[in-house]
């Protein structure tokens, strides 16, 4: 789950890292009142789950409460990359002496969290790492033993920072590394981490992402942030097809089906599985000149109703006349159940299975039973002697009419 900046700042604040005296609101009038309370110049920032706010005009500076209110009104109406603003953050305009970067990510190779620190804050850390590698310090953090300050020191020293600045930075970086684990983040970033004219440090922006698998055990934190238990924050709005498949999957606990069509624009419906098989088959269809209408995954031995539901959802997509039903060799999912499901889908939609199912290539458990059913309905089917790519080729040939049906 990706957090809005105002939530990410709250997470940072809860961990004991200093933040500015900011305010969040979805009301322009209230933005003016917050600016009044803060006093002096303020920054009005759009709260959206996308980058490029500054460029899009989603960040504006105000000298008076009136100006803050006017900017807030504009920003609340502004869509950025298709995202409407959730609200605005009103922040005092800080007197910054120097900007730093502090972040924590998972290192899948070391299998530990990795602290990244730089004295060149305010810009993308990947760019700094590429152009100024000597300005990036790194340190791995253990997961069994507690995080200790020396890990933070190592990262800070790695960027060449010492003296009074280091002393002030240690608790901030150390607490960030701690919250990364306690709050089950996959990314915890403070950028910029600002050193103010008076020598104090403050988080001026924060970016946090929580691991989906851990949301259940982080309910308390999520509720404290005002996030409802059922709030979905996918990167994109699910399409009609995607919502339909999710609903079919949720209706029955046996097996798993998934469907995606964001980014797919073709005419060949894919009823495919499992995880790796689906990736392989989607590539295979494209590599032989076919154009998938969707991506899907069947796994974990779904019921006939579930397989039927997925096939129907695919067939009900605009422009889809034919489906290809293909999987890598199955050992858990049963071939006959998937066969029954896809044939049922065709019949219930008033379509001829032999015409509609271009190919059926699922070898493995219960294949004899499955092939018997497919024969009865005249559906072209293959066992494992026909490779996944050969099956994809056959399906594409059929839909392009380059071969006799």
């Amino acid at each position: 789950m990706r957090f809005y900046e105002y939530e990410a700042r709250e997470i940072v604040k809860r961990a004991g890292i200093p933040v500015t005296d900011y305010g969040f609101t979805a009301d322009a009038g209230e933005a003016g009142q917050i600016a009044e309370r803060i006093g002096g110049s303020t920054v009005i920032k759009s709260q959206v789950l996308t980058g490029g706010r500054m460029k899009a005009g989603g960040v504006k500076f105000a000298d008076t409460p009136g100006e803050a209110e006017a900017h807030a009104a504009d920003i609340l109406k502004l869509e950025i990359n298709g995202h409407a603003a959730r609200g605005v953050l009103v922040d005092p305009r800080a007197q910054v002496k120097q900007e730093y970067y502090a972040g924590v990510v998972w290192d899948g190779t070391a299998k530990k969290p990795l602290i990244l620190f730089s004295d060149m804050g305010g810009i993308d850390i990947e760019q700094v790492a590429e152009e100024h590698p000597d300005h990036v310090g790194r340190a791995h953090v253990p997961t069994l033993l507690p995080v200790s300050d020396f890990h933070a020191k190592q990262a800070i020293a790695g960027a060449g920072v010492t003296g009074r600045q280091m002393q002030r930075l240690i608790p901030i970086v150390s607490r960030l590394a701690q919250l990364f684990q306690t709050d089950d983040m996959t990314l915890a970033e403070i950028n910029p981490l600002a050193e103010l004219e008076d020598g104090s440090f403050v988080a001026l922006d924060a970016h946090m992402e929580m691991e989906k698998e851990a949301e259940g055990r982080q309910r308390e934190l999520l509720r404290a942030l005002g996030i409802a238990d059922d709030e979905e924050r996918d990167g994109h709005e699910p399409s009609t097809f995607e919502s339909a498949v999710s609903a079919i999957d949720a209706a029955d606990h046996r097996g798993v089906i998934q469907g995606k069509d964001t980014g797919f624009h073709g005419d060949l419906g894919l009823v495919i599985g499992a995880g790796g098989g689906s990736l392989t088959l989607t590539d295979a269809v494209q590599s032989v000149g076919g154009s998938p209408a969707n991506y899907s995954e069947i796994g974990g031995n779904p019921s006939v109703a579930k397989a039927c539901g997925l096939a129907k959802a695919v067939l009900q997509k605009d422009g889809v006349e034919k489906i290809a039903v293909m999987m890598s060799i199955v050992s858990n999912t049963r071939v006959d159940i998937v066969a029954r499901g896809v044939i049922k889908a065709c019949i219930e939609l008033g379509k001829d299975p032999a015409e509609t199912i271009s190919v059926f290539r699922i070898p493995g458990a219960w294949e004899e039973e499955g092939f018997k059913i497919l024969r009865r309905y005249g559906v072209e089917h293959f066992d494992r002697s026909v490779s996944m790519h050969e099956a994809a080729q056959r399906a594409v040939d059929k839909i392009q009419g380059t071969t006799a049906p």
Binding site: W106, T109, G276, S278, L279, T282, H389
Partner: protein
């Protein structure tokens, strides 16, 4: 020979009374594996296909006269997996196969860290386990014994795969081509796993039966880069053939979307299929476009080696 397991390997199943675990217990026993006990807290005294069930791992050890099993297959719900794995590791078990998926990364990292401290190895999570054709299997890999025997013939090629199902598809292709499989390992589809390609290479390197390696790989993570680095640093005798699935995910529209497995997501430049293929090839690893090209590629590489 084989790697990690052989015909004398003993193991337990933690969470043995679960539906999936009952099936895999049957499959492994039929295949010739030695399952010496099962654990489900509160279910002591039951049996699963003749395997006695206990409340704790320590009770299994006691029941077996103090003999610590070689391995454990862990298939318990995600919230309890870390505890089950800690229990296995602290009992002195040296090989833990974690089948469970959707375990938070912090838990996985902690399990791996403890395994390192105890000198043990973790395979998975989110995997189907491993198989030595004709000898033993540990986990649901290949399914029922009869199906597993059909897809996995004994032979010369070591297989490592981020997808459980594709481990079987690839091994079946190698078997049909007469090459066969030495040991096949479903390494798991998560962003953090106990044993990545490069960490298993030294074992295959030391195994006389293995003459070549085939890997199945996907976008996301740096596991392939790590293998490329390992190959560049070691003068391995084993030719490697790789298959990369998920090339379609390189399209700009798919950025940040996860497909197939939890770890399969393009977040940075290094994660893309194109970038990984380039790295693998630079290390001398042949990357094929289709699964059915794998046997000929392996044969050609074996022939080169022999010439």
């Amino acid at each position: 020979m084989s790697i990690l397991i052989d015909k004398s390997t003993t193991f337990i199943v933690q969470g043995i009374t679960g539906r999936e675990a009952v099936n895999l217990t049957r499959e492994c026993l039929d295949f010739g594996s030695k399952i010496v006990g099962g654990v489900t807290p509160g279910r002591k005294g039951r049996e699963v296909h003749g395997v006695p069930v206990f409340d704790t791992v320590a009770q299994v050890v006691e029941h077996n006269g103090g003999a610590v099993p070689d391995g454990s297959v862990v298939t318990v719900p995600p919230a309890f997996t870390k505890d089950a794995v800690f229990e296995a590791l602290e009992a002195g078990i040296g090989l833990v196969v974690i089948v469970t998926e959707r375990i938070p990364r912090r838990d996985v990292a902690q399990m791996v860290e403890l395994a390192d401290l105890r000198g043990a190895r973790i395979i998975g999570p989110n995997c189907l386990g491993l198989i030595v054709p004709g000898v033993a299997k540990m986990g649901g890999i290949g399914g029922p014994a009869k199906d597993a025997a059909k897809a996995y013939g004994p032979g010369r090629v070591g297989v490592m795969s981020r997808s459980g199902g594709m481990t079987t598809e690839i091994s079946s292709t190698l078997t049909a081509a007469g090459l066969g499989v030495s040991t096949a390992i479903s390494i798991g589809g998560d962003a953090i796993i106990g044993s990545a390609y490069a960490e298993l290479m030294p074992l295959f390197e030391a195994d006389e039966q293995t003459e070549a390696i085939v890997i199945y790989t996907e976008p996301g993570g740096r596991m392939e880069a790590q293998l490329s680095e390992w190959v560049a640093e070691h003068d391995s005798r084993l030719p490697i053939v790789a298959f990369m699935a998920g090339r379609f995910m390189d399209s700009e529209e798919m950025k940040g979307m996860s497909f197939g497995h939890a770890g399969t997501i393009v977040e940075g430049k290094e994660d893309t299929a194109a970038q990984k293929i380039e790295r693998l090839q630079a290390a001398g690893i042949q990357v094929v476009e289709r699964i059915d090209e794998i046997p000929d590629a392996v044969k050609a590489r074996l022939h080169e080696g022999a010439a």
